[in-house]
């Protein structure tokens, strides 16, 4: 989904006013204002931030820390709330793939970190998203020891199912869904992983166990519940859709019911 404007043939530049979040460990944060001139419209948003940081270094001031790595929209490391929108105004892209041709000359741009209880700020624009890793560690996998795999083509998976699994598996774990949600809910992230694994034949043996464990860990990590605002879908850079949450709810219900009827009176090891 691309809504890029037509290419500028000549190189045009922008003068910008930037309001950027500054925060050190253990100290409340605040906005700092900076002016930045001659930003090429062909630059990416992060390249604009690089320019700002270089300007700060020339003035002998500390730079703004922000997370970024691949700068091609796949690693999920970049995380900025731009004018109130995680990853900025362009649908279907990460901050690193947002280019300055989408902004106007003279514009004021506000840049903040992800705001969510489960993602504490480390410094400036960088936050701690290890809660996502914990959810995956609880059950976001198919147990398949190295050395024990059967021949790959012994498992038939229809193209439609494989494509559906891939649609969900495209999630990059950036956390924009959480940052955009009033409840700080991680249901889109968890739903995407549950959908990827729970619809594949290889994922069936651990289906209930996985669902219960991931939801339990998600709740413990301080993420909120889903109340169908739909902001996560609107800001997901990989265009993951809300139906993964519906399917997560279905699978969770299914797992709870199964757990109830198979209860032996002993505490379950899979979920709560």
């Amino acid at each position: 989904m691309v809504h890029g404007k037509p290419a500028h043939t000549g190189e045009t530049t922008l003068a910008l006013k930037l309001r950027v979040w500054r925060q050190s460990r253990g100290v409340p944060g605040h906005f700092e204002e900076h002016a930045l001139a001659a930003v090429p419209t062909s630059a990416s948003f992060l390249e604009m931030m690089d320019m700002l940081n270089e300007q700060l270094i020339r003035a002998g001031k500390d730079t703004f820390a922000f997370d970024h790595d691949c700068r091609e929209g796949i690693c999920g490391m970049c995380s900025m709330t731009i004018n109130g929108m995680p990853h900025g105004p362009l649908p279907g892209v990460t901050t690193c793939q947002l280019h300055m041709r989408n902004f106007r000359d003279g514009e004021t741009i506000t840049v903040e970190p992800w705001r969510a209880r489960a993602f504490p700020v480390i410094k400036d624009l960088a936050v701690n998203r290890s809660a996502f890793d914990k959810v995956i560690q609880a059950g976001g996998f198919i147990t398949a020891r190295v050395g024990s795999a059967p021949e790959a083509n012994n498992t038939l998976i229809g193209k439609v199912v494989a494509d559906e699994a891939m649609d969900a598996a495209e999630c990059i774990g950036c956390g924009a869904c959480v940052a955009s949600c009033k409840n700080g809910s991680a249901m889109l992230f968890v739903g995407a992983k549950i959908n990827h694994l729970n619809i594949l034949p290889q994922g069936q043996p651990e289906r209930e166990r996985r669902t219960l464990a991931m939801v339990k860990t998600m709740d413990e990590a301080g993420f909120g519940n889903c109340t169908n605002y739909g902001e996560c879908q609107a800001h997901c850079p990989k265009s993951i859709t809300l139906d993964v949450i519906a399917k997560l709810n279905r699978d969770y219900l299914r797992a709870r019911v199964k757990e109830f009827f198979s209860s032996t009176g002993k505490p379950s090891k899979g979920g709560d």
């Binding site: 691309v2 796949i74 490391m77 793939q97 190295v146 059967p150």
Partner: protein
């Protein structure tokens, strides 16, 4: 420096199986008593860490990113090769081996490459079992596509995000072990030194990037899977954080660095657009399956829109020069051909520094043949990415592409067991040198990373550990650890203390300009000698005038970059020296003095060896050693894709 390749005896096809049968084992009850450190969490690192933990070892894994899932393996697009022969087109382990060794221009170690082809089939099985959603046929079987440098369809893929899906597979296996407590994961940690005791690798020193704490960790073995050094060119398709520091620090402790001049320039990247650009973006080589590469025949047409240039005025130069492989010629050859036409003044796109550096990659024929919806299904995400970056719609007009640094074949020298010349230091994935020779074929990097991590290191590291006494592990109280921590602290303090005027990025850009111009797609003696002098001067300037803002006790991106650039400066000198002393052309190493009308001219009599560099101390040039490459079953021939 002792360089024993330890290639097992016997016919090529039997070497690995015979060797595995002889490797020693560690009993399950004893495995938990050994501590394995894995540095890096890309395909090789994640796969190795997960495998060691599954076997029962105590594992610690370190990465500089905020999560192991973000390692740059994730950005690989096109696919992964495996000799499954699902397409019934004559593929076999031997053919994959032959393609790979030929693709590497006969500068890889034969036995390693054969093993890689052998285990390729296990990788696909393993990934499918983990739930990697590879592309499928309607009947439910796995689909394949063709890729550069091969005449069979052996590449498995997950849309244009194969690396992502394979890494997430390895990450899920690793995560499971972390959840079970079998792996301790340290994110936002950077390895800054290797610790040796009695000549053996016994641990590492890291810096916690969030708190600035410098700590040391003792282990029985260290496995380094920290990727390549493409960022020595500043602009590359690598992630911003990719660096040579871990491998270079190991090099400074005595590990040989092999073939640093073998760097891969990928032909299909989005051209440079300006001064403030921070990275180059690759468009998957798979695009060359359906896209046709061309430039105008006449210089006068280069400024015209593509649509105004009639068919007969277009030069499909890859199809013209390499009719049997056409647009699927290997990367080094396709890149050089693109450079050649641009040097002739027939490049397209905007003028930068007086030259148009770009060629067309045209899908109009494919859209006519397959329909736009089919092209969208195959490459939709790549077309979207192209439009995001350039603002151009590639369904309506051809893409513009130009070669960019993408992968580095050189790396720490390892023997057949993937052990460096330092006992106890193993190296996997792009960080080692062994499998790709002077040029890597498409869809082989993912194969190698996972082969090393899942199917080679678990066996060979176990063999090493079988010879390590259960009480041999030192504690970090040992003087060697204390000294290493002190050195790292001093270096950090030194970087912060220079307090000059120029940013680390300034030096990184200046470094990249020198290496790209003098040690990029074409190299020559005078240029390389000049580059070494320029880099020495730049290094001196760096240590006198760099300005590192921030403090050492919290997240300090400028300090991280400064440390990495400092190592890249030393490393760049070694890379240029390697290119200077290899007086032949092979694969991605193209010395203009050694060519046959534009084709690389190898000198097998003098240079059929790996060049291995030994650290000689601060400010000194490293010393060159060689490992002769012995070909038992391969006939060295001139690579031809015509």
């Amino acid at each position: 420096m002792k360089l024993e390749s330890k290639i097992p005896a016997g016919p090529l096809a039997d070497k690995w199986n015979n060797h595995k049968a002889k490797l020693r084992l560690v009993s399950p009850a004893n495995r938990r008593k050994y501590h394995v450190i894995v540095v890096g969490s890309g395909l090789a690192g994640s796969a190795a860490a997960a495998s060691f933990a599954e076997m029962g070892y105590e594992v610690s894994c370190f990465c500089y990113q905020d999560s192991p899932r973000r390692a740059h393996s994730i950005a690989a697009q096109g696919g992964i090769n495996a000799a499954k022969n699902y397409q019934n087109d004559g593929d076999s382990v031997r053919r994959l081996f032959q393609d790979t060794i030929k693709g590497g221009d006969y500068r890889a170690r034969e036995a390693n490459v054969y093993r890689l082809a052998q285990v390729s089939t296990n990788i696909i099985d393993q990934c499918v079992a983990q739930g990697v959603p590879f592309a499928r046929e309607y009947g439910g079987l796995l689909a394949n596509r063709s890729f550069g440098g091969a005449q069979v369809s052996r590449t498995f893929y997950a849309r244009g995000q194969t690396g992502q899906q394979l890494l997430l597979g390895a990450y899920s296996a690793l995560s499971r072990q972390i959840g079970l407590g079998a792996v301790k994961m340290y994110t936002r940690h950077e390895m800054l030194d290797l610790v040796l005791i009695d000549g053996k690798a016994k641990g590492i020193v890291t810096r916690d990037l969030v708190t600035g704490a410098v700590e040391s960790w003792a282990s029985d073995v260290v496995v380094v899977c920290t990727g390549g050094y493409g960022n020595v060119f500043y602009l590359s398709t690598n992630a911003q954080g990719c660096n040579v520091t871990a491998t270079f620090r190991a090099h400074r402790r005595g590990a040989g660095f092999a073939n640093p001049c073998y760097t891969q320039i990928h032909p299909t990247c989005i051209p440079v657009h300006g001064e403030d650009q921070s990275k180059l973006t690759l468009m998957s080589e798979s695009l060359r399956n359906d896209g046709r590469v061309w430039v105008p025949k006449n210089k006068a047409d280069t400024a015209k829109p593509a649509a105004e240039i009639p068919e007969e005025a277009r030069d499909y130069f890859l199809e013209r020069k390499y009719p049997s492989y056409g647009n699927l010629a290997p990367r080094d050859i396709a890149s050089r051909a693109a450079k050649e036409v641009c040097d002739e003044g027939r490049g397209v796109g905007q003028v930068i520094d007086g030259q148009r550096l770009g060629v067309y990659l045209d899908f109009s024929a494919a859209i006519k043949r397959l329909g736009e919806s089919e092209v969208r299904a195959r490459y939709g995400n790549l077309f979207d990415m192209y439009e995001n970056i350039t603002g151009e719609n590639a369904y309506k007009q051809p893409m513009r592409i130009f070669p960019a640094v993408h992968y580095t074949m050189g790396g720490l020298w390892v023997d057949y067991n993937l052990q460096s010349n330092i006992p106890g230091l193993f190296v996997g994935g792009e960080a080692n040198f062994s499998d790709h020779g002077a040029n890597r074929l498409g869809a082989s990097a993912l194969m190698q990373g996972l082969a090393d991590g899942y199917f080679v290191l678990p066996y060979t590291v176990t063999d090493y550990l079988a010879g390590v006494g259960l009480s041999d592990r030192p504690t970090t109280e040992a003087p060697e650890f204390q000294a290493a921590v002190k050195e790292v602290n001093e270096r950090v303090a030194k970087l912060l203390a220079v307090n000059g005027t120029k940013s680390p990025r300034y030096y990184h850009k200046a470094l990249g300009k020198i290496t790209w111009e003098k040690c990029g797609m074409a190299r020559d003696k005078a240029g390389l000698e000049g580059a070494i002098r320029d880099l020495q001067a730049l290094r001196k300037d760096f240590w006198e005038n760099v300005k590192v803002v921030g403090t050492g006790d919290q997240l300090a991106p400028e300090l991280e970059r400064a440390g990495r650039v400092a190592d890249f400066l030393d490393f760049g000198i070694m890379m240029c020296l390697d290119a200077l002393t290899r007086e032949e052309s092979c694969g991605g190493h193209f010395r203009t003095e050694f060519q046959d009308a534009g084709e690389a001219k190898r000198d097998d009599a003098q240079y059929a060896h790996a060049a291995v560099w030994e650290w000689q101390g601060e400010g000194q040039l490293p010393a060159r050693h060689v490992e002769p490459l012995v070909y038992e079953e391969t006939q060295l021939s001139t690579r031809s894709y015509k």
